[in-house]
Symmetry: D3
Subunit: 280 residues, 6 copies
């Protein structure tokens, strides 16, 4: 997947340089002899879903001018069991150890996101609902975090401020109501999807009456309201539930029939997946 | 703190551009009139410790060419109570909303780290132990995450591969034992601190006998072993405990008398701090 | 419009450096004394629509550390008559002359695009059709060229490969037909608009039968076929005509009732608008 | 020509990223299977002169990590006939299609410049005059546009503000006349060519009397004046005609005997050359 | 001189970041209180010529967001006596000390170049010869080093490989002799100065006979040969002496009547000028 | 040593672009035919120590897309005798000549530093003293200059403001004396080495009494005082002498028994090592 590599190699290079500081790995430099070859294996230490493995490969290639031998055992999106081998790296020990931490930092963070997403996806299995992420991502890591969400079986919402209109309460207030704000939104042109956030069923009715939104965000509604909302929408807009979503509530929300459940925590609250590098 | 701003402004700019994609905030552009002024407040929605507020300020200044009026109510390191005002922003609504998410993404992530660190620091209060972070940071965010750790009362460990030697088991193996590896490490020069990881008290004895390390990392030792280790070290090296540290175990570890307790989870496993922006 | 400036200042800086080569404007350096102040006016020398004026302002601010006095007489999107004043610049002569060419290169090129777009928009006045641009833009100038199209009254189509699916004949062939290709496209998720290109009315019927596209691109069809296509579509998709569009044909195409007429020449074939800088 | 590639690869990379926006080609990603290989040919669809082919090759190599097979049939500067094959690309369909537009945008724009230049060069065949470009180039594309002018048989004038002195009327006024301005220009040193613009034969006489210019720019003079100017110059300076040059006037201007005819429209007013990519 | 600042600010920023490493000045951070204001003076500690003072100012402005008060006492090109004040800086002590070293590193290096150049210029006073630098500059510092040469009263030779042709022996050999190589060089166009290196008077005669060079480089010739060369050239080309130039030989070389004496050591062999920062 | 290459390749690329200006080597372009292959040898023309050879290799690889054949005869740190071959380069003449100057500029400057360092190292042979560099480096070249110092047998001191605390007189004054300043410095944490500068033996005694420094900088002390200082320190701190160090004084200073002698001139006052490229 070379487009991925074209887009993300500069970031991996910057991450390696961040770790190298004034430009050296002094531990490897002083303690390891040139020409010492080893074989290392990146292993899962708990179950999960893999994401970001290509970033680790890019890191190993960057420090070694492609001289390390890489064998990939698992691909992004694959399920991992504890002790599964993910990647075998063979070659100059100094170079492998210099890139070790950056590779693991990427893979363990992104796999954590994929794993968490997959848990939510599993929780809503059999319903209509897709699990989607938000713009609550970590600065500089958005496209990678959104990639990880897809690897976990989730879907992406907006990538940024440029690719869809999301109308919130303050926009409604500024424009003087739901009808005028939706009228204004149309000016954005034929390529732009329009989403509007509503807090009540009454607001929803006004949106339905207008007809000018592609997606309606049902914010912080209890499942009974969500169910009623879905009924009123009649499939004419995509329905999205947000707010108060966790592993305890997500199934109930999904069973309301909404199309999307958006969860900021997929990307902003992450428990690392335990993945390590072992020398064989 | 202008050095901070000199060092981090480019990253904030990149984060804003990541959000602006092909270069526009189309929601603000189509829905808000030029010249609409508002006052917004960044508020804490739960208790914690603030970190990263200057990044939000940089973001607001960047989108507005310094034309927004910013009033800071809390500084990095300050305790936050739910509903505390953190920052008031007054000016062009379009510009405030365009920078809103990036500002919050920084502050809520870094404050989460500071908050978590502070919890650990509190848990070991009265002991000798400092709480320190690791190199298990998110790519591109290391210096900011380490700043957040300091704001929470923790201390930083190595910043990168260039600023200290950390000898692990594989280096010991490669060099043929603890004595030869410590001899080699000396070559790194007078500016470099040398840390060595030991798994057993026997290994520790060999390090003590050699005398050539500044810090000894006592890896995955139970508190009783840690206590014995501290006793044997006799204050001649800095002692660091790592492995298996959580809120249940940290006090026991600290009471062993170690100088440092390092915790990767401070930076790799983060539960966002709830902070929001409200229009007044 | 500071988001614009945040996004485009680096490009203006690069353009100035491209002109400064090894870093100097030797004509100004050797021929003009420091402290020689002048007033210059950027004037239209023919009729048209203005676009890009903020880029000229950014250039003047960059070379002068904001010490030049700028007075804007016309805004992007305004109609220009020959001899209209656009921008007055007062201050150090050396600095004004060093930025002169870059400012004019931006403004005269982008105004040309706006002007050409406006001519097409005028030609289809009273019809349903909007004039839209394509991805046939000049490398590095896409978002600015698309901005100029909007300033001329046109609409933008896709900004890039990431923000909509455009299905062409080879995708149809690769997927085994219109139905399977539209089925695959659905996987891109709820945020993605799907457009499909058809060459014949038969293909159009298959798309209509499937129902899975937001926009249908009617490629190189004569106006009679376009009219029939619009009839069959019944407003259930957005219709776009492309191919063979010029000032002679555009009205006939528009009268077919299509929603969009896309024209690559708006951005790839440009006759500069004559704009100059005069010293008062 | 690897210097070309060293200098321009970063720009091609930026152009690809501009097209990839948030980092993906979603059409290829969802509609094409991995491992689908195709052969595509870049074909001329009208006659002209080729320029920029190496940029297309760089684009194909960047998206594919050099895994696409490229066969070049025509080189920069070669004449193209409609239907001539220019470049054959074989390999992963996804990658070829992701780079298609950027490759074509470069080649069709630069070939247009080369083609237009060649038309002017042909029009003055048999005279002494060389066709040269100006600094009226598109921001970010100057060195490439000037390369295209050379490929069309033209010559380059100044590359930027650093590499020659061009004295215009306002410099003459500021310095107090032709003699003092030429005296000042000498200070620029032995490496710098000095050009001075004159509007009248009287001004020319003053320049000739002084002797301190390498090139004299005869601005907006009718052919009879140009002829007289050339006579008076006696080959002691290079003579350049500018202003009012088009395909109708260029021959007459050239027959005056001037050495150079400079034409801004070569780079600022471009009619794209029709070049396309076809799947075999 | 804002063009200078536009062109060089990014380099100063990079130099500051190089010194800040992982992003902090820990000495100032831990030892100085916020709000401690001081006045510091940059003083000459030996005689010389000043160059690069604007770079120090840029550094102080960058670390302080322009909040330090700067008073310049000497300008680039001014003579310095030991104990002369160059620049007074008043404000936050932390910020002044953080930028101190970078400011001094620039100013003391560039002033050393200006000073050395001035010594050579003085040594040839009364002769026809100008002192010029070469491309033997330090990577990344060329335009600044060449600026310093000018500040010392020297002249610049080529800035790079793009702005003049310099024909050496191997080019002559490759082209088959002086006449064919000069014929080829003409193709570079009317903006390009042509210089040719000769080792003997016979070679010089061949160049004179051809007439196609602007400058002749007389390499490693003794003064008597140089004198004869100048005689033969009869002012029809610029003459440049190089090789074996030092403070003992330069006067003799200059008295041969050559126009230029080029000295690589001006930029590659530098004895720092002693300049320091003192707290008042 | 690929970490070196990862870290420094961007700088070499920038250096090549600095030399290529508007993007071309016009001498090679016009005077040499494509396909002309040559073999060139980089030779030492005087004795010294090699440093920076990998930078020359990177330059040759960058201009040629790795198509030149490089054979390294000497490694960084090796002693060079006049006429020793350092590197043989075979391939396209145009490419070799385009990179020639940048390669030589790096190697001759860095080898000069290594050579000078080695002279000082030799002068103190048999004593306890190591020769160390300072932060008086050339902007943008610090890590390379410090690398050269190591290649000459010296040791590095601080790399930047972030990696150690260096307490000077003004810090002592600001903090109210040696004891309070050392107390504050402790807050920097366990990873930070603390160095304090003293001018007198009395100050030294106060530092010894406190015990809180790792290194004491004995500034501008005569050898007798240095000897006394070493005696009082009793090996409990590292001792460093600085000020007034030259080839005449260094041995005497070293014989005082100090651990380190720091010399700014190693990097700020450099006499180039004569290294050239010859065509075979």
């Amino acid at each position: 997947m070379s487009i991925f590599s074209l887009v993300h190699t500069d970031a991996v290079k910057a991450a390696l340089k961040e770790d190298l500081g004034h430009g050296r790995d002094i531990t490897s430099e002083f303690l390891l002899d040139d020409g010492t070859n080893v074989t290392c294996v990146m292993n899962a230490r708990e179950d999960g879903i893999l994401a970001g493995i290509e970033l680790a490969e890019i890191a190993y290639n960057l420090v070694s001018d492609n001289t390390l031998k890489l064998t990939r055992h698992k691909n992004d999106g694959d399920a991992l069991k504890a002790d599964d081998k993910i990647l075998t790296i063979t070659g100059e020990a100094k170079l492998i150890l210099s890139a070790e931490r950056i590779g693991l930092n990427y893979v363990s963070h992104l796999s954590a996101i994929a794993t968490k997403t997959a848990e939510y996806v599993k929780a809503v299995e059999g319903t209509n609902a897709a699990i989607v992420c938000t713009r609550k991502t970590l600065p500089g890591l958005r496209t990678l975090q959104k990639h990880a969400v897809r690897m976990g079986g989730g879907k992406n919402h907006r990538f940024g401020l440029d690719d869809a209109i999301l109308i919130k309460d303050n926009h409604i207030a500024a424009a003087g109501g739901i009808t005028p704000v939706l009228d204004r939104a149309k000016d954005a042109g034929h390529m732009v999807k329009i989403e509007i956030e509503v807090d009540t069923l009454d607001q929803l009715d006004e949106v339905i009456a207008h007809g000018g939104a592609d997606i309606v965000l049902l914010d912080n509604m209890p499942p009974t309201d969500l169910k009623e909302a879905v009924k009123r929408i009649q499939g004419k807009m995509i329905s999205e539930a947000s707010g108060g979503v966790n592993m305890d509530t997500v199934r109930g929300i999904a069973e309301s029939g909404v199309d999307l459940i958006s969860i900021g925590a997929l990307t902003h609250t992450v428990k690392v997946l335990d993945i390590g590098l072992d020398i064989e």
